[in-house]
């Protein structure tokens, strides 16, 4: 199972949120960081709305409509990369 190099700890927070609130698992996130949320059935169309609320609340970013795309949101790795780009660039 691949784990993202996680200097900022974003990936760990994402894994924890998805496991607890979307998979309802108390045994952690049992997928690789590259596992597609859509393909693996980890998140459905209601879950994505919850995930966006989490990202906005937890990391203080505002997700634009155009940013809510699989390239940014469809795996732990993608979401981690999106957050790092978003949080390192001044708005």
């Amino acid at each position: 199972m691949t784990m993202t190099n996680d200097p900022d700890g974003y990936a760990a927070r994402i894994r924890d949120y998805v496991a607890r609130n979307l998979l309802f698992s108390d045994k952690g996130f049992n997928y690789g960081d590259d596992a597609s949320f859509l393909e693996e059935g980890i998140i459905d169309s209601m879950g994505i709305i919850e995930l966006v609320s989490f990202v906005e609340g937890e990391f203080g970013v505002s997700v634009a409509d155009r940013e809510l795309v699989p390239d940014n949101f469809d795996s732990v790795t993608k979401l981690d990369a999106y957050l790092r780009a978003k949080l390192s660039s001044p708005d």
Binding site: R20, L23, F24, S25, D26, L38, G41, I43, D44, S45, M46, I48, I49, D65, R66, E67, L68, V69, P70, F73
Partner: protein, 508 residues
């Protein structure tokens, strides 16, 4: 007309026209028809005969479209089921309809495949529809890609007539066991024609479908579009709304069918960022749109016609509101679809007066053939009509009619929950909850502004302590997504009647 002719006729008339856009694939009518013929030849080779069932547990995909038409071309009956269907229910359905072939696109371990073939003895073969094909065929396993390479696109002569079954659509029943609604070719053809007529579909229409093909509302987008020779843009889901809006823009989509959750997401977006000028109509069904959403949608999509509709699997579509009526009666779901008749029946069997609440009764060629091998349930829902041999559908839905004949949904007669447009039988959810040690549970629908109703479970634990997360995780492992309770409430006890049955009315 036979349903497979929707594709075959369009392929003869418009062989080079784009029929299907799915992900980065674009297929013409000619290409799809040939693919369906190849798979039909393979299915026939597997011994699929007239009226034999093929279960499709597939995401929205090219393979699902080909699978549907190939089954029909081989004379079979297709049974589309939700890709999130869990193993217990899949096995139940495979055995209930004695499916001979299963098409699926989920990863299947060798041990799971063997277990499935043992648990469902009528099953002769599984077609793995993943791309690229995962491995060699054998032991009852074939690959969709291998079939496409090996079998000829020779059309098979039709072996059925329009009174034969085209599909079984499984729906939740109050007993907790899913029931297959039997749709014959003439039912499907009639319902599709009626809907096409009031939506005024033409060959230039481009319809986008984000709804599962296992859901009849999604399925009919495919069937209707192929019947009128349009183009279907098939999406896996509505998870990424901006992507869908980009598609609507780039494909110049004219028709967008949705459900209340879809429209509620759209209304939160900045729609000005997209060129949606190709859109001609939106349709809503499954649950009524809140009147505030209707007015917001009309403001956000100026010049786009909005159709409010109502239906149930047993008759496909039942009612639609002519768009010109929307301003006058935003809460109504309209009148009978063209060529059919409906009325509200009072408890004593007479036709109800305007304003009086009663059960909606439906008459027409879209009234399906009953439930698969369930004569008792069939007898309750499908009853004899005024002319010998005809069937009426007693919907179980309570309605009232205004003085001008327009209908308003009031609620269900039984305890079936209608959430996100899908029927949820409380019994089916309770059965799963009761698998947890020491749990007794009562499941009800509670009003939800967007979903219509949300599934709520009241739980009493007389065994090992449980958290809400554990209960939901258990439900997710055994139920399809839309059946999983959204709200869990722990109680010390559940109210009961004198005979000891749980009394749900005291709960909410």
């Amino acid at each position: 007309m036979l349903v497979q002719e929707f594709l075959a006729n369009s392929a003869r008339r418009l062989p080079d026209k784009t029929a299907l856009v799915c992900g980065n694939r674009r297929l013409t009518y000619g290409e799809l028809d040939a693919m369906a013929d190849r798979l039909a030849n393979a299915l026939a080779g597997l011994g699929l005969g007239r009226g034999d069932r093929v279960v499709l547990q597939l995401h929205n995909s090219v393979e699902a479209v080909v699978g549907i038409f190939a089954t029909l071309k081989a004379g079979g009956v297709f049974v589309p089921i939700n890709p999130t269907t869990k193993n217990d229910k899949l096995t139940y359905i495979l055995n209930n309809c004695r499916a001979r072939v299963l098409l699926l696109d989920a990863a299947l371990r060798d041990s799971d495949r063997d277990a499935l073939l043992t648990a469902a003895p009528a099953l002769k073969a599984i077609v793995d529809c993943r791309k690229p094909a995962p491995g060699p065929s054998g032991n009852g396993l074939l690959s969709f890609e291998g079939i496409q390479a090996e079998f000829p696109p020779t059309p098979r002569p039709a072996i059925n007539i329009d009174l034969d079954l085209a599909c079984l659509i499984y729906t939740s029943g109050s007993t907790g066991e899913p029931k297959g609604v039997m749709c014959d070719h003439s039912n499907v053809d009639f319902a599709a024609s009626s809907i096409i007529s009031y939506l005024e579909n033409v060959e230039d229409d481009v319809v986008i479908n984000v709804l599962p093909l296992a859901f009849d509302y999604g399925l009919y987008q495919l069937l209707m579009t192929f019947k009128f020779g349009g183009t279907l843009v098939l999406e896996r889901s509505f998870m990424y709304p901006a992507q869908i809006l980009d598609r609507i823009q780039s494909e110049r989509v004219t028709g967008f069918p949705g459900v209340p959750t879809v429209f509620s997401v759209l209304l939160q977006m900045d729609l000005g960022a997209f060129d949606l000028s190709g859109l001609r109509y939106l349709t809503n069904t499954a649950a009524a749109l809140p009147p505030s959403h209707i007015s917001q949608l009309r403001a956000s999509f100026p010049g786009v016609t909005l159709y409010s509709m109502y239906g149930l699997t047993e008759t496909k579509r039942t009612l639609y509101l002519p768009p010109a009526q929307l301003d006058r009666r935003p809460g109504s779901v309209g009148i009978a679809i063209p060529g059919t008749e409906v009325w509200v029946e009072a408890e004593d069997g007479r036709r109800a007066e305007p304003g009086e609440v009663g059960e909606l009764v439906v008459r027409g060629r879209h009234v399906m053939r009953g439930y698969w091998e369930a004569p008792e349930a069939t007898g309750l829902r499908f009853r004899p009509g005024p002319i010998p041999g005809e069937r009426l559908c007693h919907t179980g839905d309570l309605f009232r009619m205004d003085a001008e004949g327009f209908l308003y949904f009031v609620g269900r007669k039984d305890d079936i929950i209608k959430s996100r447009g899908e029927k949820v039988a409380p019994k089916e959810v309770e059965n799963v909850l009761h698998m947890l040690p020491g749990v007794s549970a009562a499941v009800v629908g509670v009003p939800d502004p967007v979903m219509g109703q949300a599934v709520k479970a009241f739980i009493v634990v007389n065994g090992p302590a449980l958290t809400e997360a554990q209960v939901i995780a258990h439900c997710r492992a055994h139920l399809e997504d839309f059946m999983v309770p959204k709200i869990i409430e722990f109680r010390d006890a559940l109210p009961t009647t004198e005979s000891g049955k749980i009394q749900k009315r005291g709960l909410v």
